[in-house]
């Protein structure tokens, strides 16, 4: 009789009903284990910022495992570089981080100039820095917009777009392009800034800090915003560095490392600005870093305007031959792009084309720490974490 009941119980347990008590090391544990739910997030998910794909293993809504799948936007930029002359490659760099294309140009032209030893006119340097900082503001604005939208604050999105529009108008004024500017040239910039540009730019710098107050009113000390960002997706400084995290994301973990300060390039050593560092290690700290960076960039832009107004006229383009052949050698030049350390490694064999060009994309490296940040959190926090490291897939996949 007892045997019969036992076999029946086993039968029931084998069928996977939640009856019966489970013991550690039970024979039936295998059949009765709690299954993870596998969820495929992206590449068509609304908050993966492009074509990022995440495979999540969930227990309930808690993440137990996560894999990042990339490559949906791979365009073979590095291979293309080997088949284009140094000049021809500039437009392709725009397409890396399409939200801050001047910053991308900047890194590339600096690398080529370093390789060939070209002196850039000082006016061009200031214009470059001005544009790069505007690009940083624009990129951070778009980041804030989408980040807030992901967490559910819809209004911030449209507020940020209002200001971003002003920057894009400025870009259009100076370069003719709004998103993809292709403004920088090897040895300078394509053309001098148009009339009234500096005035308009100054206007923007006046308005912008007030607009940041608008965003602060909606987010800065909002209880819901705090509860969604504080202590979420924490990553320590050591771990972040070990995982290749750079830029604002690592500065949110308290690492005082900004390439504009630590390895100054262009005219950054002549400009006065603070490096935004917060040591919360969480999503909120990264928000604070980028928020402050926007204001600091605004300060830099103001200083550039001041200098440019004081020193009108002058060359903006060094003499660079049309058939441009840099010497044999290899260089690595890194700049502080809005997302982190953007580096170009160029191997030259003395011909018109780079022998090998490698792009060290900040988002690519930053994305690596996403699983580390998200494990143990809920699905909703993944969204916050993606937002906080600010990935652009054009850069990740290249």
């Amino acid at each position: 009789m007892a045997k019969k009941i036992e076999s029946k119980v086993i039968d029931v347990l084998k069928r996977g009903t939640p009856f019966g008590r489970l013991e550690e090391g039970d024979v039936f544990n295998e059949n009765l284990k709690i299954e993870d739910v596998w969820i495929n997030m992206g590449p068509q998910h609304p908050s993966t910022h492009g074509v990022l794909r995440l495979v999540l293993a969930l227990q309930g809504e808690r993440i137990v495992d996560m894999e990042v799948v990339i490559g949906y936007l791979h365009r073979g930029t590095e291979k293309l570089a080997e088949f284009r002359t140094y000049h021809q490659f500039i437009p392709l760099t725009d397409r890396l981080d399409y939200l801050a294309s001047p910053a991308m140009n900047f890194g590339y032209v600096l690398a080529v100039e370093k390789l060939a030893g070209i002196e850039v006119p000082i006016r061009a340097e200031y214009i470059r820095v001005l544009m790069a900082e505007l690009a940083r503001i624009s990129s951070h604005l778009l980041w804030l917009a989408t980040h807030a939208l992901d967490i559910g604050a819809m209004t911030v999105f449209l507020y940020c777009f209002r200001e971003r529009e002003m920057i894009l108008d400025l870009f259009e004024m100076a370069t003719g392009g709004r998103l993809i500017t292709t403004y920088y040239r090897i040895g300078g910039v394509a053309n001098d800034l148009p009339d009234y540009f500096l005035d308009r730019c100054e206007e923007f710098c006046e308005i912008f800090p007030k607009r940041v107050e608008d965003y602060d009113a909606l987010l800065y000390s909002n209880r819901i915003w705090l509860s969604r960002t504080v202590n979420i997706a924490k990553i320590s400084a050591e771990k972040g560095l070990a995982l290749g995290l750079s830029g604002p994301s690592i500065r949110g973990s308290g690492v005082n490392w900004d390439l504009r300060r630590s390895n100054p390039y262009s005219v950054y050593d002549k400009l006065d600005f603070e490096v935004a560092v917060f040591d919360g290690c969480d999503v909120y700290a990264r928000y604070l870093v980028r928020r402050k960076e926007m204001l600091e960039s605004c300060k830099i832009v103001k200083q550039c305007i001041e200098w440019l107004k004081k020193n009108p006229g002058g060359e903006v383009q060094a003499k660079v031959p049309k058939v441009f052949k840099p010497p044999v050698g290899e260089v690595y030049q890194a700049v502080e792009a809005p997302k982190g350390e953007l580096g170009f490694y160029i191997v030259s064999d003395g011909s018109q084309r780079p022998y090998r060009l490698k792009i060290r994309a900040p988002s690519f490296a930053n994305l690596m720490s996403l699983p580390e940040m998200c494990k143990g959190h809920l699905v909703a926090d993944v969204v916050a974490a993606i937002g906080s490291i600010d990935v652009v897939l054009g850069e990740v996949d290249r």
Binding site: S47, E61, G152, M154, L158, R162, N222, V379, V382, V383
Partner: protein, 322 residues
């Protein structure tokens, strides 16, 4: 027999009037929401269809009507069809007991409030079934969240109405309004605030729109729905928004009572204040996380609302009613 026939006829007329108006209001509520949020967000909202986009809801409706109706292959066909209908029906039959005026209502039930709570609880079933029968994990998670959320928030919603109920001494909505010489919001401020929060949770609006949090779960339980079935969910959601506003008006703001203007107009004004509030909240706040949201409910709102009932009971016991 004639009496019966005339009864049926008047009831039919009322039903048609109320439902036609309700559907129209629901349709234009979407327009209102887009316009209000638009202006809050320094943009115009719909402007193209008709003057100031006034025909936009109709265009939207037509578009949804002619859209292809997709049933996922992984889905459960029967429940997949059944769910949106259940949702919409449950939302619309709630209008039956709403007194828009001292006299104008479809039916006066002596358990009006209880009726609303019970029908609303069946409405959840539509969401759960929709989430489950879509055969998509996003929908499933949305359905799960939704079920947990609405089951819990129904409790606070019901309990927050308990205080005013005890003062009024009736479940009849008309009697509740009549009992309010002073609007109950004055006597029951705690219950009022909790009701508003619970209502936001119950109708899945920001900051509690977790079942359909578009940045996490795509669209939650209605991810797989398209065309008219999607429209049903949409209508149900907005109808529910009207219903919770109407109940708030009746229970806390003395319904149709008010000087000078006719009663129904007061009712609508008060109701739209709440609707505007819901829209305003949507434009302002980020979204809570699921566990935080549940924690607020069970750890803060439940003790508060129970204390409120207790205090109200004690006061009534000693003063013998207001």
């Amino acid at each position: 027999m004639d009496v019966l026939m005339s009864d049926i006829l008047t009831a039919l007329i009322r039903i048609i009037v109320v439902f036609a108006l309700a559907l129209l209001t629901v349709a234009y509520l979407t327009y209102l929401e887009r316009k209000v949020i638009g202006h809050m967000q320094v943009r115009m909202g719909p402007m193209r269809v008709g003057p100031h986009g006034l025909l936009q809801p109709i265009a939207d409706g037509l578009k949804l009507f002619f859209k292809e109706d997709i049933v996922p292959t992984e889905g459960y066909r029967l429940t997949f069809y059944f769910a949106p209908i259940l949702c919409l029906v449950c939302a619309l039959i709630l209008f039956a007991v709403i007194p828009f005026d001292a006299k104008f209502m479809i039916s006066r039930l002596n358990i009006g409030l209880l009726y609303i709570l019970s029908i609303a609880s069946v409405g959840v079933m539509g969401i759960i079934l929709a989430g489950w029968s879509s055969g998509s994990k996003y929908s499933l998670l949305g359905g799960l969240r939704s079920a947990a959320q609405i089951f819990s928030y129904e409790i606070f919603l019901g309990f927050s109405l308990m205080g005013p109920l005890m003062i009024a001494g009736s479940l009849d909505l008309v009697k509740i309004v009549e009992a309010q010489s002073v609007p109950f919001i004055v006597y029951q401020p705690v219950a009022f605030v909790i009701y508003l929060i619970a209502a936001l949770g119950e109708i899945n609006r920001v900051p509690f729109d977790l079942p359909e949090a578009e940045s996490e779960l795509v669209a939650g339980f209605h991810t797989e729905y398209s065309g008219m079935k999607f429209a049903y969910f949409f209508l149900a959601e907005y109808a529910n928004m009207i219903i919770v506003s109407a109940i708030a008006t009746i229970v806390f703001l003395a319904g149709w009572k008010g000087p000078i203007l006719p009663g129904w107009m007061w009712f609508l004004i008060k109701m739209f204040i709440f609707i505007y509030f819901f829209i305003w909240v949507r434009a302002t706040f980020p979204r809570y996380r699921y566990d935080q949201f549940m924690r607020i409910g069970w750890k803060i709102m439940l003790p508060l609302v129970l204390a409120n009932i207790f205090v109200t009971g004690v006061v009534i016991l000693f003063i013998g009613g207001y």
